[in-house]
Homo-oligomer: 337 residues x 4
């Protein structure tokens, strides 16, 4: 961490700052330039806040040299993390497809979709029981009853299940869920992240609509700092000025996250585009860019889906897509071997 | 709501859609153009989701004519809402200043700041006990103990208090808090909003970093739909590509929200800029644009503040600012009389 | 185009508007709803400006049903446009790689890179003689002399050349250039676009950093309206809040543009990421998403490049990448056959 | 400038880099930390490009300590620059209002508006002869004829005139224009900026829709580096995800630019919001935030304006607004005295 001092900083106050920093255990490296006078901090700065420094009268600005996340940082853990979900491995060269409806609507619906996606080769089943909806007048999910139906579909098909949590109060209901999803709108619901850090269960953490990759990793760090290191990161589109697509899929996030962290990274092409015909090209792009998995919305009757029908594939479309996904992951595995 | 049909839509499927819409209680208005064929829906479309329509094979796109929020909509409630906080009125021409530290640190700190801001003329006291921090290694607030200290400061000064909630589980602790704040990161924590909708207590709802004004109003609608119509909206800066300022204060939000809704709108200039010297000009701009209040961070020792020191004013700076605020609100009251 | 009338619109002024619209040759379709009264315009609205309508006292808002571009619109021209550059075809299933240095520096440099990229299988040579640089103190390119060197490299290798124009005044210098590039910062330099519309030469039009896809197509329309329909669109990253990457590659732009227009779409992964190690994964993603080509920076000595060295590949890296590009385009050609 | 070396950087290559830097005239300041090894450059780095350094194998990242603009930098020129336009001073406490139509349409129109805005107290007349329009099918301005009409209106009223240039080729036509405007879309049309740097005439430089404040200042630096230091900066709204307003007025730009530079800063509230009713509150906010002037669209018949009618005020509205502007600038002059 580099501290840039103001040009007219009072020497006595600068001395005071230096003493304070030494007392906090840092070694200091001083530099007097024509442009500026600098203080370099040598030591672990991850718990040092730029903000405290910026508040000081003598400080003009602060530049961080290292990222403030530790457990999520690849430099601390060079090997890829592989997460095992009931025998399905994600990360470290293992690719998985999570498929299912946006929301769980009826027993028939979720079981039928589960059987269909399993037959096509999906490895995990998704389905929402608690749905974050912009409008209070929209369908909010079946809640507890939805979770029951999801677990029935799990029993019927053997597919591990992924579903979203929206409040710490619902945690007891998620005991038999295999992967708990944190949605984009809750990526910085820190109280929720802390609770999930106490579990021994994989967490699928979606990037917020306007959150940087470093913030995503800091949210992963909240979970990991609590002791739960099974975090799967998910890019699902960010918010930009473009209005033709619902969100903008940040495909660069895949190689950049792979460099910054050892955690697996998956892509949700369904939410990224919001339009059915774009799910396939974005899925292909995700594989090509090096993602460890995909999360795809499939509904047995998209025209009657209670949410997000416009982006859901039919089981037939998904079956065709899965064949392409399998060939494409195989192709890139060989290409990069 | 206008439904745009695909050019090659199957006539029988279009007929099916029309019947379905009539069964839902809408009158239809059909239009055949050279550009497109359209169906206009006549009736209350606030619970009708574009998404369901967009999923249909025959539908190209959907255009909403009216906003989907009702209780927050000025067209349903032309008069300004005035919210009374222990006798301090906000909205409808009543301007209030909320001041205090980012986080509550010690009894001396919060009481001293409270007495100082009261002496300068602030009308409400702010102070955080639960702090949303990007890093798990940062100070997270004093929690229950912090709320106790805040209530002591309230008792000592008579100032009503505003403080942030981060989880529904903490609600019982907020019984004696006068205004509950929902932070930007929780603007779409819908489970929390629903719980706050059951209270009879003013809610200060901050706009999320990447949320549109319509989404802010839909979040207000969540609270209002539950029966609690005492919502104060707060603009605190949005996230853009600009890096010189921490956030970009969306000053246009003030006149635009005033047109869309009857709820009071306040500005938080401290978080918007993140830098002390910008608090004054942004405060002046907020008053000039028609805001109903300001929320300003004041710390008796910003250089030792445990968070957000760089943007906190000293009590002396705040005192000078309050004099300008009072003159400026007075000036604009006369100018616009 | 749908005109939404204000609730309290004066009937006589509405009558006046209707007459005006009929005189402009539109058929009108009226709709009285509980939400709003609407006027639908039937006829060609591409030269009708929403802005004129929005200025009217009786108009609340305007919703466009069809995009305002015509020549670039796929609905007017369902077949893919194939652009022939000295025998190299782009679009309609023909994939091309454009490679070369950011800027032309010396005869040895450009000729050496040209020979290297040709040997690796690139189809066109790029190299900048006029360089748009943020700083006036940065290297601005060799200008006329640079174009001479580029044409020498063309002669030596037989590769057609692509280079950027920055002002209409330089047009005479571009006579022997095969493809003229319009950079992101000039995407809405309309005077330049008009001049390029008078040529019979392919134009490579880069998307601006904050321009929507519809604006990109309107800029293409400027060129096409002048008579030059040989426009190649290029996505090169957009500006967002993310700071880890220089820009955010909008990969969704590929399938979305393919639906909106018949023009070829290529990707510039070098500028999109700004970092060397991301060029390969983004190239792979571009092919997977359906792009018609790639534009890649290659420098024989990136550590001494006068601009954009951080994102330039060495000829050896490019050679390895070209092998992967060839295999990958072949793979997807078969997959999608 | 601080160079962060890679952890595994080869010592011999680091030595090579150090020699190179010393040869370029820098003194070096070395720092070995647990986090990273750093090289600090002491000397004038404004012509040193981060990009060249980032391309090096041993370099992980580069942090700039000082801004790369010099002539526009307040630290080099602490006093406010005051620009004199035919006796009207802008900057350094001098506030000016520029008013007039978006485009010049007829002699009657421009002369009538000019007389009206003069009577209301405007100090300069604006009017566009070259209009940058998204669509090639939209009215593009009267060009040479428009400039003639503008100069007639200048003669009739004595008001100095401001009008936009779109191409260096048109420069000879602008000889009698008092202030030449560079529009947002041309902020990084560097060839145009260089030409304007050779003039002895004030330039009104508008911020691009997605340009940072530092980029705006680098564009000003292009003009100033050529010798023309009469640059007026103009904030006119930036592009964000918000869709309720046409652009987002970045009001923080005013105090932030005032700190970074000595150049005058004005606001264009008409383009920022795109809607008539927001012009007044945004004008008031601009004055309150410390702007040196306003640029406001006025049309004698907004309902028939050939462009931007929705945001134009009538002369009557402008007259009312000017009275408020005068009172408000007077109020803040006293408040801040």
């Amino acid at each position: 961490m580099i501290i840039i001092l103001k040009r007219n900083a009072s020497p006595s106050k600068v001395e005071e700052l230096k003493k304070n920093l030494v007392n906090r255990g840092f070694k200091l490296h001083l530099s007097e330039g024509t442009e500026a006078s600098l203080i370099g901090l040598i030591g672990d700065t991850s718990s040092m806040h730029e903000d405290w420094l910026r508040a000081l009268d003598v400080v003009e600005d602060v530049r961080r040299i290292r990222e403030p996340y530790k457990k999520a940082n690849r430099s601390m853990h060079p090997e890829d993390t592989v997460i095992d979900v009931c025998g399905r491995k994600i990360g470290g060269g293992n690719f998985q497809v999570i498929a299912g409806p946006c929301s769980i609507e009826t027993e028939e619906q979720i079981t039928e979709v589960a059987e269909d996606v399993k037959a096509s080769g999906a490895h995990l089943l998704r389905g929402g029981a608690f749905k974050p909806r912009t409008s209070p007048y929209a369908f909010q999910g079946l809640h507890e009853q939805g979770l029951d139906l999801l677990l029935k579909a799990k029993k019927a098909t053997g597919l591990p299940v992924v579903t979203e949590i929206m409040s710490t109060e619902h945690l007891p209901l998620f005991e038999d869920v295999d992967v708990i999803q944190v949605g984009a709108r809750n990526m910085q619901n820190f109280e929720l992240l802390k609770e999930l850090g106490r579990l021994d269960k994989p967490i699928l953490l979606k990037r917020g609509l306007a959150n940087t990759l470093d913030e995503l990793l800091m949210s992963a760090e909240y979970i990991m700092a609590g002791g739960n290191e099974k975090v799967i990161l998910c890019e699902r589109g960010i918010r930009t000025f473009e209005t033709s697509t619902r969100n903008t899929l940040d495909i660069s996030a895949v190689p950049m996250l792979k460099q910054k962290t050892h955690l697996p990274v998956i892509i949700d092409p369904s939410h990224a585009a919001g339009i059915r015909f774009m799910v396939e090209p974005l899925s292909m792009a995700a594989i090509a860019a090096g993602a460890d998995g995909l999360m795809i919305e499939v509904h047995n009757n998209p025209e009657k889906a209670l949410c997000d029908g416009a982006q859901s594939l039919t089981p037939q479309m998904f079956d065709t897509l899965m064949k392409k996904i399998n060939k494409t992951t195989e192709f890139f595995r060989e290409l990069n071997a």
